[in-house]
């Protein structure tokens, strides 16, 4: 009978000690309450008043995830290399990587690793004016889906060094690494490879700038001047 070898640690960066109390601080304590008189009823035109009690209880988790069969992609990011995978049967190229081809007719063949060029085409974009809590201080920022040259898929990332009103679909971009990559999809970002094509009129640009003004003002008021990693 063959024995299963135990897992062996090759490299490790332990979470800082400040995370040790995560569970104890976060869980199960009711830390506040509110008793309110609110509404009860099916329709706005037929409401009654009712009394409710609401409590505040923090809860969160520290995850440990495996990047699974595409772990190599993330290790390579730490070395400032962008990898993709290629199906040996149909030749489709995946960046982000897939461990197996997406085509059933290739019998979900195991893919092979390839190095991707650091350039691509912006497929579509958005300018975030609101986001999850961790991203609020970076607002407004541009997120884009880019087709890395040679890939059959798109990859997400931030586009920097360009004003939102100048961003256009189909523009060419370069892919860059942040200074200290940590093995996450956010290690890469995009910068324009060419000057703006100028498809948007001056009037449209002015409107977009005006729409984004309150976001900039809100972030400045709440977080002060703020530096991103790019």
């Amino acid at each position: 009978m063959r024995e299963v070898q135990p897992d062996k640690v090759i490299k490790e960066k332990k979470p800082d000690a400040k995370w040790a109390d995560w569970g104890r601080l976060g869980k199960w304590n009711v830390v506040g309450y509110r008793i309110i008189e609110g509404n009860k009823g099916h329709r706005l035109d037929r409401l009654e008043r009712a009394r409710y009690m609401l409590v505040n209880r923090p809860w969160d988790v520290m995850y440990e995830h495996s990047y699974g069969l595409v772990s190599r992609f993330f290790e390579a990011l730490m070395e400032k290399k962008l990898l993709g995978t290629k199906c040996p049967k149909c030749g489709d190229v995946f960046c982000p990587p897939r461990a197996h081809c997406w085509r059933n007719k290739c019998k979900l063949a195991e893919t092979q690793w390839i190095e991707m060029p650091m350039r691509g085409t912006l497929h579509c974009f958005t300018v975030l004016g609101f986001a999850g809590e961790a991203f609020l201080s970076d607002l407004p920022f541009i997120l884009a889906y880019v087709r890395v040259q040679g890939a059959n898929t798109l990859i997400a990332g931030r586009l920097v060094r360009m004003e939102p009103e100048d961003v256009e679909c189909d523009m060419n971009v370069e892919i860059r690494f942040i200074e200290h990559p940590t093995g996450t999809p956010m290690d890469i970002y995009f910068v324009p490879a060419v000057p703006p094509m100028g498809r948007r009129s001056e009037q449209e640009k002015a409107r977009m700038r005006k729409q984004l003004e309150p976001i900039r003002a809100w972030v400045k008021e709440r977080f002060g001047e703020h530096q991103t990693k790019h």
Binding site: I36, G38, K40, G41, H42, R43, L44, D45, A50, Y52, L54, W59, H65, P96, W102, H123, C124, F125, T126, V127, L128, G129, F130, A131, G132, E133, A134, F135, L136, D138, P140, L143, A144, Y145, T153, L154, I155, A156, G157, R158, P164, E168, C169, D170, T184, P185, M186, R207, M208, Q211, L212, P214, I215
Partner: protein, 390 residues
Amino acid sequence: MAKPLASIVSVGVTRFGAREGLYGRELFVEAAQEAFAACPNLSPKKDIDGLFVGQMSESYEHQAHVAPMIADWLGLLPIPAFRSEAACASSGVAMRSAIFAIQSGMHNIVLVGGVEKMTNLPTARVTEILGMASDYPFEQWHGISFPAIFAMMATAHMAKYGTTEEQLARVAVKNHENGVLNPKAHFQKSITVDDVLSSRPVAWPLKLYDCSPISDGASCLVLTAPKLARNFTDTPVHIVGSAQAQDTIGLFERSDVTTMNVTKLAAKKAYEMAGVRVEAIDVAEVHDCFTIAEIMAYEGLGFCKPGQGGKLIDEGITSLGGKIPVNTSGGLKAKGHPVGATGTAQACEIYLQLTGQAGKRQLKGAKIGLTQNIGGSASTGVVQIYRRGD
């Protein structure tokens, strides 16, 4: 005309909105009480032999295993109860499971609904929970919210077809107008194109008024085998087509982000099953989680050609007085979008329209209705077709 798959004999919907103070389970009770009260011939405990619940996330209320809990809260124990999760299409998928149950002959009369209690958490946290229906890590870790995903579809649609921010805004204006006529809508207030354009960007080009709100609510239907429907009502609504399709979870693996393949594929199959052409549809409830989604729904359902969705809204064809009124309830945009409740809430609106109970927003003589419910970035799509049973 196709044979009915199952028949709706009664419906219930809660008021959608910030229902502070109530549990999700209590919201479901509110919806079910209405459905039971509207169907005096139904004796719920004796007649109902299965419960199907659509609900997206345990994270809103820190509560999993909601199916038995809702069966308990409705006094229906020990009937078998099932929960479906398909993000914002959870109750659309639950409805299909209920149809399968009836079609299999193993169930005769079932309650199917959906619920979500979302407003107790900060908006940024709700954004993260909804975002869990996108790819982890390649979308979620970047802070890609659902508004951002639909905004990406919008910029691609604008670049490819010339769709404008004004056209997107007109979807919101139309749905708010309908919401004014729905006493259970989250927003019962009209807005103007300028209000939309000058509202704060959430994920440009989508502004606050391009987005459906975070709401609490529940909805449900009493579904029977078609041959039993007349025991409970003189005006059943038959489900005559029901189809579903899936696409990649990440938007980044689609060949074209300007179309919703799931809508196109499910619609084609549903029309075939129902034996109707798109021209026969008198009223539709579509998944306008964001204004661009309604425009893409028009195109996927065949209400117009690809790229012509903006023109359709400009011409007023989908307004209350138009040729195909869409989202007479106010849609997700104005009625509200408690995600798990949305699929069955759409069916409730079609039931009300086809049975003449839609109050101030009632259409004249509507016979055939359609619902389109999507989950995530249209990774799940459910299209169903309904016929007034006369």
